[in-house]
Amino acid sequence: MAAETGTPTTLTLKSNDDELFSVAESAAILSVTIRNMVEDGCAGGVIPLDNVDGKTLASVITYMNGISAIPADEEKKKSYRDKFLSDKDFETLADMVLAANYLNMSCLMDAVSAKIAQVMEKKSVGWVRRKFGIENDYTPEEEAAVKEEHKWTFEGVETDDDN
């Protein structure tokens, strides 16, 4: 842990595309995965994070620094999270949800998954398939039947914005 006085301990994190990042230990241990490594004493050198790319890791570190600078005030933390996620596109959010899960950061995980849900809410079935990379395994007849059964849920769907 950080020394009582003097300069705070800094950790070096390495993304899976070999970018190196310095981050204050006090912020980095928001990740339970990193905290466990620190507690086990294996954080001496560089901490390799094999499941996170540099772009996503940079974003996560921005979040770690931002949120840990806010004192224990849930309201303020929530508004920081909202603001932090407000300009992120779907691809970035999808990468972040995977990173938050790997790093075991429940607050980021909750916020990002809620944001993705918010982005998806009014989207079309086609949009969701493309964004999540899902293959449509319905036959055209089956799909028509499923859609016909709940017609009203297709009211008010936004026009796709990804074409």
Partner: protein, 301 residues
């Protein structure tokens, strides 16, 4: 980078979506449909929604329904008009029996039995589905009053409708018979033993039921039982899980005063409450410990 999201993370996201989006996304793929329609997913979606309360108000004069959505009572926002889920012109199922976990039980507005009609409808306003209950098991010629109750067991997995029937037996004496409809088995079943309810009490059954922790409650108002004597008012409780009737005692209020009091029952902070109003005053009581008569406490006068 591909956007492949593993199933457990996908569920984290989907569980935060509103019902309308979820039903639409069942058309994404077969595996999405099986996730969204699985019992486990529905249960976790339901528990996420616990803090969102909806109030359904039925305006009798215009026979219209309005839904209010709000986290806090009275801080209502986004009221939306709903339609009763069946034939407009012939809307007989317009009595809201109660709602549990998003399901609303509606019954026929009439006391008197019409054998040609289903006794009620189970309605899910969020998914806009409704199903009429099938014909009951007991349909004796001599029954002339039928009242429904609705609830879910304490484990919140088994919804049941309870139906009280006031009917004449072979000896010509009127008694109450009870039958249960299980939404799991989708069938009616006679409840052996049943409960002893007088004709007088049917009015109480009809007015308002209160559902709390797997038990349906009705406030049965005091009734004459003979020469100048009265049976005290009490709460009739039906445990949805073990299908047993019990009586819950009301507070011991000053004698004499209750003669002309109007009583009503409600739920406050997961406890049963009773409002007793006379012409002059109004008392609010709450039963702090369930089924412990001594725990009745007067909150306000």
């Amino acid at each position: 980078m591909s956007n492949y999201v593993p199933t457990d993370l996908l569920i984290e996201i989907l569980v935060k979506l509103p019902v309308k989006s979820l039903i639409r996304f069942a058309a994404v793929s077969k595996s999405w449909r099986s996730i969204i329609t699985s019992a486990a997913f529905i249960a976790s979606h339901l528990s996420k929604g616990k803090n969102h309360t909806h109030t359904l108000i039925h305006t009798l004069s215009t026979n219209s329904l309005v839904k209010f959505t709000g986290g806090v009572p009275f801080a209502v926002n986004s009221p939306s008009k709903l339609k009763f889920p069946y034939y407009e012109s012939d809307s007989i199922y317009t009595r809201i029996v109660d709602s549990c976990d998003g399901l609303v039980c509606l019954s026929n507005n009439f006391f008197i039995i019409d054998f040609a009609q289903s006794p009620g409808v189970i309605w899910n306003p969020s998914v806009r589905n409704h199903i009429a209950l099938p014909n009951p098991a007991i349909n004796p010629e001599d029954a002339y009053i039928s009242v429904l109750g609705f609830g879910v067991d304490a484990g919140r997995t088994h919804h049941k409708v309870v139906r009280f029937l006031y009917c004449r037996n072979a000896a010509g004496i009127f008694t109450t018979r009870v039958e249960i409809f299980s939404l799991k088995t989708w069938s009616w079943r006679r409840l052996i033993g049943g409960v002893d309810i007088s004709l007088h009490a049917y009015l109480s059954l009809y007015f308002r039921q209160v559902f709390l922790n797997g038990v349906v409650h009705w406030l049965i108002e005091q009734e004459p039982i003979g020469d100048n004597s009265f049976r005290r008012s009490y709460i009739l409780a039906f445990d949805v899980g073990d299908e047993v009737f019990r009586e819950v005692m009301l507070p011991e209020w000053e004698a004499g005063g209750s003669g002309f009091a109007k009583l009503s029952i409600f739920v406050i902070k997961e406890s049963l409450g009773v409002v007793k109003s006379t012409g002059e005053s109004c008392d609010v009581w709450v039963m702090k410990e369930y089924c412990v008569k001594e725990s009745w406490t007067k909150l306000y006068t």
